[in-house]
Structure formats: C-alpha cells, structure tokens
Symmetry: C2
Subunit: 227 residues, 2 copies
Amino acid sequence: MYICIVDISLTEENYIKAIFSINASNKGEGASTNELSEQLNNKAGSVTDMLKRLAEKKLIHYQKYKSVSLSSAGEKLAIGIVRKHRLWEVFLMEKLHFKWDEVHDIAEELEHIKSDELVLRLDAFLGKPRFDPHGDPIPDAKGHLFLPHAKPLSHFARIGTYTFLGVAEHSKLFLQHLTSLGLKIGDTIKVLDINAFDHSLMVKINRNEHQFFSEAVSSKLLVDIKK
Amino acid sequence: MYICIVDISLTEENYIKAIFSINASNKGEGASTNELSEQLNNKAGSVTDMLKRLAEKKLIHYQKYKSVSLSSAGEKLAIGIVRKHRLWEVFLMEKLHFKWDEVHDIAEELEHIKSDELVLRLDAFLGKPRFDPHGDPIPDAKGHLFLPHAKPLSHFARIGTYTFLGVAEHSKLFLQHLTSLGLKIGDTIKVLDINAFDHSLMVKINRNEHQFFSEAVSSKLLVDIKK
DNA sequence: AAAATAAGTTAGGTTAGCCTAAAAAACTGT
DNA sequence: ACAGTTTTTTAGGCTAACCTAACTTATTTT
Ligand SMILES: [Mn+2]
Ligand SMILES: [Mn+2]
Ligand SMILES: [Mn+2]
Ligand SMILES: [Mn+2]
C-alpha cells in the first residue's frame, strides 16, 4: 500500500496517461521518449525533463536510454484517469447527447477533476457502465480493467458474421466516417466477400444494403465473431 | 463586439472571478490589491504582477495604486465562469445528490472546463435552472444576471414572516450549521420575537418548534418578506 | 503639516514546463 | 567492426506564476 503525498499536476497526469496508453499499444514494452514526444506534442528534450520528475515522484521506472514504464503507483493513477475519462464520455453521450466524435476533447479536460466521491457518484448516476462510447472498457472503482478480446475485422480475413465492439482509432475524422457509413457500436457486420487484391470487404451492416470497407477502415474496426 | 484571441489560463480565470465577486460585494467600487491577495491566498506582490498581465490582455482597467475593475471583456468572461460554476453546483446537487456544503469545491474546478456547447447542454439538461443550491442567481446564456432583491434577515429587524432565499456566506461550516438548524432554501421563517440586547431572533422554521438565531446567523440569511 | 501606518509596487529569485541546439548513446547495414 | 543514422540526453534559455524584502505612495492620526 502506498499513500500519495505529493500532488500531481495536470501535465504530469497527461504524461502518465500517455505512458499508459503507449505501453498498452506496445504490448507492455513501455514507452519511448520519441513516442511520448509525438503523442504529447512536446519536444524530446522536454519529455526527458518530465521523465526525471516523474521518476523522482516514483510514478515511473526510468533508466536513461531505455523505454519507461509505470510504477504500481503510476499505473493506479493512470487507470483512475482513464476511468474518469471514459465515464465522462458516457455522461456526455448519454445525458447531454453529444455525438461520439465530440466527447473526447471535453473528456480530456474533465478527466483531471480531482474528487473520488465525484467519480463514484457519476459512475452510479450513469448505471455503472462497462464501456465508453467508443467501445473501450471502463475500469471499475477498484482499478480493475477488463480487457475484451476484440480484434480488427481485417484480422479475421474471412467471410462470416461479426459484432462491432469498438474502434482502434479515435480521430474525429474516422468516427465521423463510420457515422456516415451508418455504423454504430453493437451493429452486426456480415462479410460477404473479400477482395484478393486490396483486401477491401463487401459487407452488410445489420439488414442494410451491402457496401464496401477499405482495409484502412476494416483494420480499425474491433469486432468479435457473432455468436 | 470583441473576439478573444489570446486564451486565458485557469489562474487568470480565478483572478477575473475574484475581481468580479469583490467588486460586487463592494457595490461597484472595484477590488483592491489586498482584497485580491486575501481572497486568492497570494501575496500582494504576486497580485500586482498578475494585474499587469490582465491589463495587458485588456481584461481589467488598472491604474497604479487604484482599485481595479473589469473591462467589458473581463466582465463577460467572469459572468461565463460564474454561470458554469453555478450550473455545475446544480448538477452536483440535483443529479449526483451531493449536499449543499460539498458542491462548491468541486465546482471550483469544473467552472474552468472550456466548451460553450457543454454549458448550453448542461443548462438544458438541468432544465435551465435560475438559482444555484445556495440561492445565487445563474446568469443566462446571453450573460444576463438577474439580481434578486433579497436582504439579510437581520436587516428587517421586525416581527413578520419571511422566505429564505439564499446565503450571504458560503463556508462549509456555516452551511452545515444551517442544515443542523433544519433550514433549507425556500423555507418560511417566522420571526416571533427580537431580543433588544443581542438582536437574536426567536423564530419558527415552517411549522416546526421555535428556536433562536444569533445575529451572526441572521445577518447571513438572505430573505424576502413572504407574500 | 508632520509623523506614523497601511497599501501597493518593484526588484530579484524560484520552480514547472516548455524550447533549441549540441553532444552522447544506441542502433543498423554492410 | 565501424560508419551512418536515429534516438535520447544535456546544456542553456524562456515564460507564467508564485515568493520575499525593500521601497514608494496613500491614508490616517496627532
Ligand atoms: Mn487530459
Ligand atoms: Mn473513448
Ligand atoms: Mn476556480
Ligand atoms: Mn453556489
């Protein structure tokens, strides 16, 4: 058990969250200085600066020239921020009727509000949701994060029926594109044909007219085989 | 009309809000360096620093050794922050069931979230409330702030029946004290007797047993004569 | 009208969080 | 293994937002 004495700035929280998400997409290999620099829109030198401070505060494991990873305190913090981010996204969609491509930027600010009680009550108010509007799992109050085993639609590479569970890209442009294709979380995607040259798919969403998904799209759609 | 080009930091927003509220309690006489220093828990020298920066940004009218006031841009900004603060307080009470002495600190952070669309939708979600949990009026979307003509109960100094409309002090301790007295916004306060020596009041709240209010309390209760 | 006190400003210093440019270390390809 | 490239760190600087201590201006008291 560890009690956090120093308090953590908004900037530090953003670094911690970035390390967490880069580490996850790297399958636990940690985050490099350049990856952080890219994600946070800072120069590499600034990142090194901050890594030293985070190491000082025991939030990360840092060795020069090696990629960094979160300490257990850092991970706890990161999961708390992710939980807040995703809960606020649900609030913005479900209660304030924002679209799924509008919620991220606002949640990026709301995730830093510091009140444990607030998070508990928001969670209860929303009915303890398990997934955010993009299909990402919401860590529970104990910091447990359930990882769904969805995979990119392109990964299956075969005719069949799938359930759309989440997105592997969160850009406004991509989300708006999916909306214009008529695709929402939970939809059924039936793959009718696969083009051997460009790997584009002929699909049917629910019971609609068939249409085509480029591989650029299908590789960003997280699905599972429909049961 | 004025478009705000530079963006305003959280710290600057807190200064602007402080100037606004001190100015209001001074009946438009502006805010002094020392009053700001007190309210913001900064030293006077730091306040002077910031006043120069705010003047640079045309948010205040500042002349050395004189008390400062908000420019029209500054006032617009201040009212926007107050609006957000009070709307979030309503949200915390009405939707998340916080108590009226718990909402202020959290709203102090939430008031800085920057999204006009968010404020509009939150307002609609809450049913366009006109008052916050402490009886303070909520500015409308156009920045118009209705000022109720409630006065401290002690001010009337006569037997009669009053409606409790708001508090002139927002400290946790005072709010909790009122709760323990069984007093809520909207309650009827019947003044049965006034002590000539200490100006304490014998009162009845709604139809309850009679009790006493010290002047320390009655001077902080904003009421109007019951119609 | 001085003297005393209070209020406000200035000067110089600190820290967080950024920057650029140069140096050092770690990889990569042959 | 070593030359070239990429990645990371270091060194030196900057600004916002604070501080303290000294100084200046304004106000109050006698
Ligand atoms: Mn953020
Ligand atoms: Mn999301
Ligand atoms: Mn605030
Ligand atoms: Mn209030």
